[in-house]
Point group: C2
Chain length 336, copies 2
């Protein structure tokens, strides 16, 4: 690897300001009072040379790193990337900064974790993912960890939660209010807590109205578009009658939308469709998607806030995020 042109160091500043390196460090970190005149000359030198301390050296000297490891399932996922945006935005100006490592599959996860460990990150945010809980629990013994977009048995209190049950209820109630009775549900990843909760909300809303859950109306998906598409195809080819669909997330709703279109079923005239997440793109589907909004950016920001609290020794405090129905054009009243 090529050598870089040497950046100026704390010694250069010290020399130019006529003080010792420690003094420079003191004014920069405000770690102990410094005579005003010296302070001024230090600041002057810093500005003149455009000096910026090396985070690397600081980390070594301080014995802790300002890096926050962000472990994410898929950096290009439309959902997770919104959370990352929230995390990154909130980190700016805090002195902390993120190191992203993505690991969709198990092997990648091990590498990702190793990368974060090699960097000696001082804290972690886990965003979704399917790695073994044990790995995360082990990390959380060594540093502050906050989890977003999944639940981990044994460290529930560190998992940021969204009102998924309530959200599933809202979605389903909306369809019920429109007169729909045969409402299909495309679930998310099997055993995923969010998927389970949303389905639970679906069932709850149905039972509120005294409607029995028809297992034939529930199709297992995996939160990806293609599973939504296949889910609808299964429904149609099995001859299951339905006038509405509650998809476990927006991406599955997109797939469902396409499948419906291919079968000549119009949204919302023939079938009403509700998603979950309110991804930015859902404003632009044809037709625009009615969905349950969860505040992704705010969720990412909250994870950072919680982490900072933890780093300062405060007790963990994670808000539970509400969901909100956003009515657009993919739902309409049912006309038998």
């Amino acid at each position: 690897m090529r050598e870089l042109k040497r950046q100026c160091t704390i010694h250069d500043i010290a020399r130019r300001a006529g003080v010792s390196p420690s003094t420079v460090s003191r004014v920069l970190n405000q770690t102990s009072p410094v005579r005003p005149e010296k302070r001024r000359s230090v600041i002057e030198a810093v500005e003149a040379l455009k000096y910026r301390p090396s985070i690397v050296a600081q980390g070594l000297a301080r014995g802790r790193s300002p890096a926050v490891g962000v472990l994410v399932q898929d950096i290009s996922s439309p959902f997770y990337s919104r959370i990352l945006l929230g995390i990154e935005g909130r980190l700016v100006g805090t002195g902390l900064y993120p190191i992203f490592a993505s690991g969709v599959e198990k092997r990648q996860t091990a590498q990702a974790l190793q990368l974060l460990n090699d960097n000696r990150v001082g804290s972690m945010i886990v965003v979704g993912g399917r790695m073994f809980d044990a790995d995360i629990i082990r990390m959380s013994a060594r540093m502050p960890v906050v989890v977003v977009g999944r639940a981990i048995a044994g460290m529930e209190e560190r998992c940021l939660r969204v009102e998924n049950i309530e959200g599933g209820c809202r979605a389903t109630r909306h369809l019920l209010d429109l007169g729909h009775r045969r409402i299909a549900h495309l679930t998310g990843v099997h055993n995923h807590p969010d998927a389970i909760d949303r389905r639970e909300g679906y069932a709850r809303a149905l039972s509120e109205r005294g409607i029995d859950v028809d297992p034939a109306l529930i199709v297992t998906g995996d939160f990806e578009e293609i599973s939504g598409l296949r889910g609808v195809e299964a429904l149609v080819s099995d001859g299951v009658g339905f006038s509405a669909i509650f998809a476990g997330n927006d991406q599955m709703a997109y797939g469902a939308q396409l499948a419906l279109h291919r079968h000549g079923l119009r949204v919302p005239q023939d079938v009403s469709l509700v998603g979950f997440d309110d991804l930015p793109h859902s404003t632009f589907t044809v037709p625009a998607l009615t969905t349950i909004r969860q505040p992704t950016i705010a969720i990412g920001a909250a994870a950072v806030d919680a982490l900072i609290g933890l780093l300062q020794g405060q007790p963990l405090c994670l808000p539970v995020f509400p969901t909100e129905l956003v009515v657009r054009d993919s739902t309409a009243p049912f006309f038998g």
Copy 2:
């Protein structure tokens, strides 16, 4: 910030293996021969203690960092995040790792650049963005820099290029081949080289067939969905006749699709639509989008390869990426 439980260091390994720290370093970095028996006991100790060197300390000692600064306009953009995926994937196993910093707006850009500088990254990949060229040129004087998704005057040779003109041609020819003559074009960001090239391709294909470019058919967009939507609305409300649209990218095509739908224009029966990029989502639009594919993942990977070559002192070699027409369901023959 809380202290972490101390990780084991090279000294711990040295002690356990009964050798000096230098020897441990030697076997780990294979920097000079070590007697087999010692080598073995070092390796044994490393595995027993699950030792991993601190990247931070290595960076300090070596005077260079294995971190690659990745400056990106928007980490949550469906297009750029694909490139990031390619970059990240290619970096795994190279000993290098990315530090992402996003800066959509000018002020954020300055902060992003500062973050990378504070981390003393040893190289950089710039992905899109609208910051002043000068900032990038300045960086490129100090370290290897490769640019993706934009062009910078004065360092063209470091900018990875895609056959945008040819792509624009392909898209337009496809529509011409289907019999369309009134083909509208939604351009990307004003002055953006990709946008200019795609438009150039559009014009070239038209002139090949002896068709004059009608300025009324060209609407300026900005690569975002909403601009595609507004572009179509402008076209319709201005009463401009057209039977096909070539959108400067897929996101604008999405917006166009919705606008067409809202005006009761069916795709592809009434209007054919072609995008550019082939985002993963384009398989799931209603109807599935015909588009020009560019190999985003491969582009990210190529940027990394080029960077590694540069770091090893090799001359820069950037491939020019081809584009490919992907025909799906948003285009159909023109029937006057």
